[in-house]
């Protein structure tokens, strides 16, 4: 199992990071949808938002590490044959990265919008930035609508992966799950013989 990415497929670190971020992001979204529906007396009424905030802060570390990892790894080449669609797929990946960064930043600012620190799993206190209170009234709204944005974008991204798997029958999804089974292409063979 390869640690690093190659031009053909993802290494296991990149795959693990991708799925951790995916599960955490969708999980945080569903958690928020759920706790917003709870009655005031529900046992999870205060604990669920605290868990959302704690996981969110942990996710910041994962995202930072993932961005660093991205810098030191090649990006596997697109398996699609349409240059325009490949370009759109690449733009989608960057849009998802930017949305994630915006989500964790607004999440932090919303969690500290009272000027009070935010608790991470009851262990670490993350302080508020000076002036955090000035964002009251808009920051929660922004965090909420960015979350709808990323869910929509991630759905398009996911359906595109399923289209590669079931319609194009290529290795796009498989190489993000298991590293892929693609035999060396002519292009790769040329590369290796060079």
């Amino acid at each position: 199992m390869s640690l690093l990415n190659t031009k053909r497929t993802f290494g296991w670190v990149a795959r693990a990071l991708h799925w951790i971020v995916a599960v955490a992001t969708i999980g945080l979204f569903l958690l928020a949808i759920w706790y917003r529906s709870l009655d005031y007396g529900h046992p999870w009424y205060t604990a669920a938002p605290e868990l959302h905030i704690s996981i969110g802060f942990a996710l910041i570390l994962v995202i930072l590490f993932r961005l660093i990892w991205l810098l030191f790894n090649v990006k596997p080449e697109h398996l699609g044959h349409n240059a325009v669609i490949n370009r759109m797929a690449g733009l989608m990946h960057w849009a998802l990265h930017l949305l994630l960064i915006a989500l964790v930043i607004t999440g932090y600012l919303y969690a500290t919008a009272d000027g009070r620190s935010a608790s991470v799993f009851g262990v670490i206190e993350i302080p508020a930035l000076p002036g955090a209170k000035s964002l009251k009234g808009t920051i929660g709204w922004l965090h909420e609508y960015l979350s709808y944005g990323i869910i929509i974008f991630a759905s398009v991204h996911g359906f595109a992966a399923l289209k590669h798997h079931f319609v194009d029958r290529d290795d796009t999804l498989r190489r993000m799950v298991s590293g892929g089974r693609t035999p060396l292409t002519e292009h790769d063979q040329q590369e290796t013989t060079q």
Partner: protein, 189 residues
């Protein structure tokens, strides 16, 4: 009533043979200098109270110390400015479980009757509109004081209290009555 209309109104009053030459003065609530506040208190679990305020509102009143029952008051509140010193709670208060700010960004109070109950107290009844629902509401008002301030203005100040049952205003969530306290200082126009 604007400044330009007042002489006309006084003229009409004289022509109509009204005996009282004293006219109720118009006051603007001093929101700019923040010598006015609209505060609320909600019971928390029967253990204690949460207090908050509406940061943005405006209003005016007329007041004649010689004839207080002729007074009137009008207040308009931006419900989106609700502030309980906890943004996550305030965001919840703004949504349609409570204040429904997107659909009804303003709450208003227009007095209809002033009934003097003591030397410095009165009951002011009016139409209170909140979340698009209008109900009669009565405030217990105490006159605090008035006169020239050190900077050339003339002021009058009051405190009003009332209590509302949020189910009268179609709040989806109801955790009991909300007590309101208004500190109102007006500058004579």
């Amino acid at each position: 009533m604007t400044m330009t209309l007042r002489p006309l109104a006084m003229g009409i009053a004289l022509v109509m043979g009204m005996t009282s030459a004293v006219q109720a003065d118009d006051y603007a609530i001093d929101v700019k200098g923040a010598h006015a506040s609209i505060n609320f208190t909600a019971n928390h679990l029967g253990f204690s109270f949460v207090t908050g305020r509406f940061d943005d509102f405006d209003g005016s009143f007329t007041f004649d110390p010689e004839n207080p029952e002729a007074s009137s008051v009008s207040v308009e509140i931006d419900t989106g400015s609700v502030n309980s010193n906890h943004e996550a709670r305030d965001k919840h208060l703004r949504n349609d479980d409570f204040l429904n700010v997107d659909a009804h960004p303003k709450a208003t109070f227009e007095s209809t009757k002033v009934e003097v109950t003591g030397e410095k107290t009165a009951k002011i009844t009016g139409d209170f509109t909140l979340n698009g629902v209008t109900n009669p509401l009565t405030l217990d008002v105490e006159y605090i004081g008035g006169g020239d301030d050190p900077w050339g203005n003339y002021r009058q100040g009051f405190v009003g209290t009332t209590s509302i049952d949020v189910s009268d205003y179609n709040f989806k969530k109801d955790y009991g009555n909300i007590d309101l306290t208004l500190h109102v200082e007006g500058i004579r126009k």
